[in-house]
Symmetry: C2
Subunit: 374 residues, 2 copies
Amino acid sequence: MIVGIVKEPEEESRVAMLPEAVKTLKSWNVEVMVETGAGKKAFADDALYQESGAEIVDRSTLLQKVDIVCGIQALSIAEIRSMGPKSVLMGQFNALYNPELTHFLIHESRTAFSMELVPRTTRAQSMDVLSSMATVVGYKAVLMAANLLPRFFPMFMTAAGTITPSRVLILGAGVAGLQAIATAKRLGATVFAFDVRQAAKEEVMSLGAKFVEVEGATDDKSAGGYAVEQNEDFIHRQKEAIHEQATKADVVITTAQIPGKKAPLLIEERTVLAMKPGAVVIDLAASSGGNCALTQADQTVSINGVSIVGVGNLAAQLPQDASKMYGKNYLNFLKLIIKEGQMNLNFEDDIVSGTCVCHEGKPVNSRITQMINN
Amino acid sequence: MIVGIVKEPEEESRVAMLPEAVKTLKSWNVEVMVETGAGKKAFADDALYQESGAEIVDRSTLLQKVDIVCGIQALSIAEIRSMGPKSVLMGQFNALYNPELTHFLIHESRTAFSMELVPRTTRAQSMDVLSSMATVVGYKAVLMAANLLPRFFPMFMTAAGTITPSRVLILGAGVAGLQAIATAKRLGATVFAFDVRQAAKEEVMSLGAKFVEVEGATDDKSAGGYAVEQNEDFIHRQKEAIHEQATKADVVITTAQIPGKKAPLLIEERTVLAMKPGAVVIDLAASSGGNCALTQADQTVSINGVSIVGVGNLAAQLPQDASKMYGKNYLNFLKLIIKEGQMNLNFEDDIVSGTCVCHEGKPVNSRITQMINN
């Protein structure tokens, strides 16, 4: 069988698998085709893929010939139609919130897997692209903030006096938030963090950050580690607490997203106007509406000396290691569906069925079925 | 008496003193005039200066009325002519290597002090702008590199495998180099450093970096902590050692400058061509010719996937804390020449005479005299 690695669209710098992943696939007796220039922006040129045993081909050849098309961003509908009839499509299509594509895949009797559907179980951790990309995003958000801030992150004791450390506020202590905390601490900042999930408190504190307490949050352990929507009274008190903390902060990094919903508004306009001149807000929820009232997606705006960065695809800004991690996640998943060099789709396996959008046009997992019936 | 703080030229974001320094001057019974908008790019607006007790005035009023003009970048010749006849000019004019300006100041019978002339003695440490700005530059160079690098700086052990730490090579372990080492270590990189001064070895190692040894360097302790020019045989072996280290590195930060001379060439073209795709070179000597053969001043070029950043005035990219440190250095110096609210120029003080370009048109220190006689 043949696995194919497609080139991503113009605005994406990552690639689904680097040459090192090709070597692993070859060791499984799997052939690999790579689209010309697929790894260029991740600093892996065609020659490196060839040295690892891949064949470099053009896009239409790849789509027609391979058994599994591996990518990150979704292909166009015309391109999916041009794929071999039995071949499998893989990527990160946001399948539950992209009904047009999901319905199309079902209608065309396709078999497709979408990596964001990987169950959040211990066994599936090594395939969890949401976690690995959130690690990249949290790290990169802090570097971006430190680079924009007109002040130092660390404390300095110099012959000419003391520079106090910067104060960083992280809203949301999921994987991205925790990585942001760890990176800001590394750089010497004083870090405060807030999360509606009480479970986050211990993790925040173990990284050396201070947890901002707001009593009475709704906590739903069945939400798979995600935060859930909160009642009005809590939201009011939360806003006051965040307002108070944000106006003392040099950097605010917001990471609060609710899958398939508009991001919660955490930083109001009045808060930005009361912040320190020179302060920086990095809004990682910009693509789903933003956690800050003044965020503009994919833009940096400056209001009263406060920079607000509406971050888009931040993982693409660390393309080499992001692709390395993505490829590892991919290989760990492919290991489940390739046996002795042949495709082996075992839907008894909860990871295989959980990640599947549809198999020969039929949904095999309850989340997709539910979405279709709505 | 009145101290004046001028607005810097367009390309400069720092200001000589922030509002907090104005408060100190006021406590010495000194009046302060600040040029409209002087602190804007350092996030200190006119209102803040006013609250601290300064009067906001236009540029020509300031130049005519104040007793000491405090700035960073040099003023134009016409502006110096417009200053009150007895007033003192202060800034960072690179006086020893700017003969045109120095001769003009002497010719016009001016009194001027240039902060880069502050002697490198223990007592003068608190006024040493070269050291404080080098601290800013070393920190900022690492942030810039980490932001450009397509890889993580720190090591990560994740469910999907291990990310190895980035390898950073620092050439020159002066103040900027040492701060770069410390910052890269904070961010979790593996750091190697090289310096021709054997004295640097211990400092490098105490920061947790590895010292790259090349035997037989010329070391001149009378050079005030600066490196001196090296013989041909040493330069050849040094280039080989640097070539070998640089081709293994993810980031190279070069800081080697010799005052008044062209910067030594440390990274040859063949070295860049042999570096890893995605690697980053930050050349802090770009304004004096560059330590890398392919550096272009004030530009970032990409050769075979290697980014080479020809850094200009990097201290200006951390304007708030850089101005804070600059202002502290300024205050510590002004304390020597202001007594009970009055100007008090005591040239018996080695710091006062050492920092003086000329007093009423006469050079008072041997470095300036020597330069004029050449």
